[in-house]
Amino acid sequence: MGSRASSLLREEDIEEIKKQTGFSHSQITRLYSRFHSLDKGENGALSREDFQRIPELAINPLGDRIINAFFPEGEDQVNFRGFMRTLAHFRPVEDNEKNKDPTSGEPLNSRTNKLFFAFQLYDLDRDDKISRDELLQVLRMMVGVNISDEQLGSIADRTIQEADTNGDMCISFSEFTKVMPGKAIDITADLQNGA
């Protein structure tokens, strides 16, 4: 019969996700439909292969890292809640958050959380520091074979020099926050507010 995705999502779930992530009702149903269409195995969770099937993501040099960000530590499947939590980082920052609950802590799409997401793309071993090797790895992913090792090495060294303030040759999260230009954060994936 083909009952469509939106009918499988209950109202209570939608309300919860709304509170947690700040997405609107229609955005959530839309994204659930998208989640469902990516879920080829129809088991209510996405695997890494499901993401790889998106051609535009597969050709993105940082595609694998971005996909990794969706999966919690050591897991191979992400359910809809997890999917929405990760996507929530990319909601544009609003001045007046309607569901501002002082006890719920910072909203997922705050500037700090957005920056932390980006920080984690670099920091693969999750030790809260970006080492020279980790920086080199990401650089190599972005440029492919077009730049030599020496040149890439000098770019990495220069970057660490500029950002590192406490002299440990690594970039910590606070040092990372300081070198990020304000503009870069706000244009992260503007998810249009639907009717």
């Binding site: 229609s26 269409s37 535009e56 793309l121 972005m142 440029v143 990020m180």
Partner: protein
């Protein structure tokens, strides 16, 4: 006991006999005879108009129902959920950095790739082309309803009546017609095949093919509007069209005569193929021959060189796409160097979605779905013929034809390969992205005055 049933028995038999005769005569008069002569009573168009009114009413009811319950009606966004602007990689990265200063590496560069990545996860241009298009209004078919809980009793009753009509009346009628059409095709083409080669045979073959395809068109209740028929393909050319389903063949072939191209199949398809080729030359390839591109090209060129043979019908996308876009055309048919007659086919999804999702449904399942829809409504545009221009290679020519077809049919023109339905994207594209970004990093150090 039995004496009671006897008089009723013969009465029932008589009634059944009469009703069958009446039905058969009606069938013959209203459907088969017009098919033979290519005329139409206009019954199908009347049917189509009443259906449209019905669907609009149904959607209004659902909207009203949703408003009463204070909920949102699920509406598919045809533009996607993201505001995307086509800006180049260099421009975007410069915008992100501190006011477009010295282009070198900046840690915020990853935001560009990050954002593009997440955008493609939320909505991408390619994967949605391989599933059926979502509709704005409900067409009383279960398979396309997303707002199940908003249906009032009146609508449900209407839907129930719809099911009865579609499965109880339309489906058997259509199946009968389909068998008649296919059966006649096989039998008559075999008979025509007995004639000696010559003008008489070609004439008869054309008539037979047209007649049988017209019966098949009626078997699907296909309501087709042909535009610009003066551009219809002529002998010695190739006709290319966008591909949505196997029905495309029937739609085009019921208005003109083509030589088909395809792989040899077994079973019923094979029987049909062998019969058809007796009446006029079609091009059927063995499975092994399909891989050999030179062989394929040679056979096509030989066919075209012979001006007495019909124009070849080819679908360069190579796979079925869901009729919202046109995907990459395979360059093989554009290398041959003859005139190309582009044709755009656009289906109206309100009456029944014609897209064949071959990874989800088999052929028989698909045909059953087609025959139990309300109707297949489509428009066909014949575009003026195109030839390869000086200094243009096959790929550019293919893209030019594709753009013309997309423009005429109101479809999105995509560069992605339809083969992505099943296969992975080539590494080459990722390498291109990497090269572009490298230029941003390195290109700067060449015109950087310091150090």
């Amino acid at each position: 006991m039995e004496s009671y049933l006897f008089p009723f028995d013969s009465l029932i038999c008589m009634l059944l006999g009469i009703s069958f005769t009446v039905l058969f005569t009606l069938l013959l008069v209203f459907i088969i005879v017009p098919a033979i002569f290519g005329v139409s009573f206009g019954i199908r168009r009347l049917y189509m108009k009443s259906l449209i009114k019905l669907f609009e009413w149904a959607t209004l009811r659902m909207e009203r129902g949703a408003k009463e319950k204070n909920q949102h009606l699920y509406k598919p966004y045809s533009n996607g959920i993201i505001a995307k602007e086509p800006v180049s990689l260099e421009q975007e990265i410069q915008d992100m950095r501190r006011g477009g200063a010295e282009p070198e590496f900046d840690m915020s560069d990853i935001f560009y790739f990050c954002r593009r990545g997440v955008e493609s996860i939320v909505d991408d241009e390619v994967t949605k082309r391989f599933t059926a298009e979502e509709l704005e209004s409900w067409n009383l078919l279960t398979r396309s309803n997303y707002n199940f809980h908003h249906i009032s009793t009146r609508l449900t009753a209407l839907w129930g009546v719809g099911v009865l009509i579609r499965y109880g009346f339309l489906l058997p009628l259509r199946v009968t017609l389909a068998f008649t059409g296919v059966g006649l095709l096989v039998v008559l083409t075999s008979i025509v095949g007995l004639f000696p080669n010559g003008r008489m045979k070609n004439y008869l073959s054309d008539k037979v093919h047209l007649m049988c395809y017209r019966i098949c068109v009626r078997a699907l209740t296909a309501i087709i509007t042909y535009h610009d028929s003066e551009n219809k393909p002529k002998n010695g050319g190739i006709c290319v069209a966008n591909h949505t389903s196997p029905i495309d063949v029937i739609i085009l072939a019921s208005d003109g005569c083509y030589a088909m191209v395809g792989q040899v199949h077994g079973g019923l398809m094979g029987v049909i193929q062998r019969a058809m080729v007796k009446a006029c030359p079609h091009i059927w390839f063995e499975r092994s021959e399909v891989k050999d591109r030179h062989l394929v090209a040679k056979r096509l060129s030989d066919h075209i060189a012979d001006k007495s043979k019909l124009p070849i019908l080819i679908f360069p996308e190579g796979t079925c796409i869901n009729n919202t876009s046109v995907m990459m055309f395979k360059k093989g048919s554009f290398e041959i160097g003859c005139r190309v007659y582009p044709v755009a086919i656009k289906y109206d999804p309100r009456f029944g979605d014609a897209f064949w999702n071959s990874s989800k449904f088999g052929m028989v399942n698909y045909l059953l779905r087609m025959m139990s829809s309300w109707a297949i409504v489509c428009s066909v545009w014949y575009l003026p013929p195109m030839s390869r221009m000086e200094g243009e290679d096959a790929v550019q020519f293919a893209n030019r034809v594709k753009a013309a077809i997309a423009r005429k049919g109101g479809l999105a023109d995509l560069l992605w390969d339809g083969g992505l339905k099943r296969g992975k994207v080539k590494e080459v594209f990722k390498e291109e992205q990497q090269k572009l970004y490298s230029k941003v990093l390195v290109g700067s150090s060449e015109d950087c005055s310091r150090s």
